[in-house]
Symmetry: C2
Subunit: 344 residues, 2 copies
DNA sequence: TCCTGTCGCTAATACGTATTAGCTATTTAT
DNA sequence: ATAAATAGCTAATACGTATTAGCGACAGGA
């Protein structure tokens, strides 16, 4: 119980009747140095190591080698406390999978308290060889410092330049959104609305960009650049504008609108098509399968982790990767009914 | 890009015109030593630190202090690869929550490859101050070594002695199982069956123990000490024995039996009651709410983490805690129909 | 004037490992 | 027999920090 002082190479050396240096050489000598230690000695040392169960202290190892085979995972929004869990989980799975395949362990930064700062007094992050950063909204000052600094990192999700290009793996939301717009148009929709922010986080901007690029001037009948507005208000605006199809960035808004519409006797998608920009975890539990696109969260996380390892091990140059987002058919996008059309 | 060599205290010292020791004292001096550094000097050093954005290398820190504020998480069964994810997730959430509250970060041991050994060549575990161990089935040799060693750890789930008492936080399955048996008996069940292993992992043994303690000799009509047997075979045996109620350890078995029973025109719970010993994640998705008991996974993980910190920080003695498992009403346990009773 | 004490700082060391330079004893070449 | 080479090891050092012992300068008291 009384913390029997950890074994060190010195102890092993003493037991085997050699020097500490010899123990270290036995443990991880190059072929060159190995050839200079006779099998007899090596076996004697190895036996002591086996018997005692000695393992090298990874801290001391990192001290001298500089590398740890540990990757940090930092999240801006507090990631775990149940609420956000569903957002974080698939990313974590992807990171873990890639890390395991590459022989790395993960250091989960809990952000000790509320701070959520990379550069604090307690920057334990640097214990890792590099770091994956998650979160919708980054602190741009910190991001700039990271870019300027020498600590390897990769962001999950596209990031604008911050005093230099940011290495990232993101979802290619713009074309995915455009594709859904095209699909709506091919169904015959000519009066389309947009509900969601159009500025702020990169992911938001990308969606709006993809949307506005694909939709014609005449077709965009109204936009509500906010989220969480009362659904009945939204619906009033949509109907007043004569929209037959609405693009929504937030699943909760979509659910609320769908509810409100049904309670007014409107049919989805006949009277109103709803498209959600990006799938959400547990989406299957909301009852309705919204037309949307798939965000390849695990694949993003895997790719980011692999990129990070490339940067750590080979000092690879900055890469920026956007992964394709597959459209999800769903059942909330259909041809506008003629009734609705005339109602306009 | 060219890894601009990390700042050290020596650099700071040079810039501030003091010695490395002074920098260290400014950073984390005791009140005693602080009083011996005039405000002027301290401010000068602090300014340089602010300007350069220097942060102490946590590795070197751990080297000398011995502690890291990092907790390891080791899982025997490979934890992440999606399949097992649901088992692992609630535990991880609990650990993370407690770790965050206590100001610790988490080191997730990926087990690099298939090995899943604590004592391997690559035991990076010891970088942490202590370790939480998860998994249904432990390697007993390793457990014994852990118990004998001086590295603080806590198991999630009860563990038999391994050359000494194992510190753990588990679920109190035996009384939870007994309570369900009592409940079945109070419904009038007198012909009860058991399906599941009765030896092996501690959690399995506890369930069987709790069951056999509460059920009378005469009431246990049949037992099948295996899992995953074809449901129709099981059902034949149950009906032949005239069982009115069956206790099942594995959810999959319960689901299969329920299916098979319904396709034979039997009604659950009228013709056959089914009790599952322990709730399962995503249980709500299987359609039927099985009568069972709740395993407080997050609470177990939290408690284990807190216990671990006690051991790390205060060298606290071994504790063994079993948390209460609340019964889950469900709808698969009811009074046996008189028809079934006579059928016997 | 000399002794004592305090202030403000620094030199030195430990932590556990990896690694290089180099030492001693033995063998080989001449 | 002597020089050169080689085998088999070890001493020494670096990594970056925390911490203790203690040094020099100056102040105050006798």
């Amino acid at each position: 119980m009384a913390a029997a002082k950890r074994l060190t190479q010195k102890d092993i050396a003493q037991l085997a009747g050699v020097s500490q240096a010899t123990v270290s050489l036995v443990l991880n000598g190059t072929p060159l140095s190995h050839s200079r230690i006779p099998a007899e000695t090596r076996e004697r040392v190895e036996k002591v190591i086996r018997d005692t169960g000695y393992v090298a202290d990874p801290v001391a190892r990192k001290m001298v080698k500089g590398l740890n085979r540990i990757l940090g995972v930092f999240t801006y929004e507090p990631a775990f406390p149940s609420g956000q869990a569903d957002f974080f989980t698939p990313f974590l799975f992807g990171i873990e999978e890639a890390a395991q395949a590459l022989g790395y362990d993960l250091l989960l930064l809990t952000g000790a308290g509320q701070q959520r700062k990379i550069f604090g007094d307690n920057v334990r992050l640097r214990l890792a060889d590099g770091c994956v950063i998650l979160g919708r909204k980054f602190d741009n000052t910190e991001l700039a410092r990271l870019v300027a600094g020498d600590f390897p990192f990769v962001a999950v999700g596209r990031r604008d330049d911050a005093g230099g290009p940011v290495p990232y793996v993101g979802g290619d939301y713009a074309p995915a959104t455009s594709a859904l717009v095209e699909r709506a148009k091919s169904f015959g929709h000519r009066r389309i609305a947009y509900i969601g922010l159009n500025e702020g986080a990169e992911s938001t901007v990308d969606r709006w960009y993809g949307f506005s690029r694909a939709v014609g001037e005449a077709e965009l009948v109204t936009s509500i650049f906010e989220v969480g507005r009362p659904p009945n208000e939204i619906l009033d605006i949509l109907l007043a504008a004569g929209a037959t199809c609405v693009f929504v960035t937030e699943l909760v808004d979509a659910i609320a609108i769908e509810h409100a519409a049904r309670s007014r006797g409107l049919s989805i998608p006949d009277d109103l098509s709803i498209v959600v920009l990006g799938n959400h975890i547990r989406a299957e539990e909301v009852g309705r399968r919204f037309t949307s696109f798939a965000i390849p969260r695990e694949a993003m996380a895997r790719a980011a982790t692999e990129m990070l390892v490339r940067r750590v091990e080979h000092d690879a140059p900055v890469e920026q990767i956007l992964l394709h987002c597959e459209p999800l058919e769903g059942d909330t996008l259909g041809a506008p009914s003629s009734k609705t059309k005339k109602t306009k």
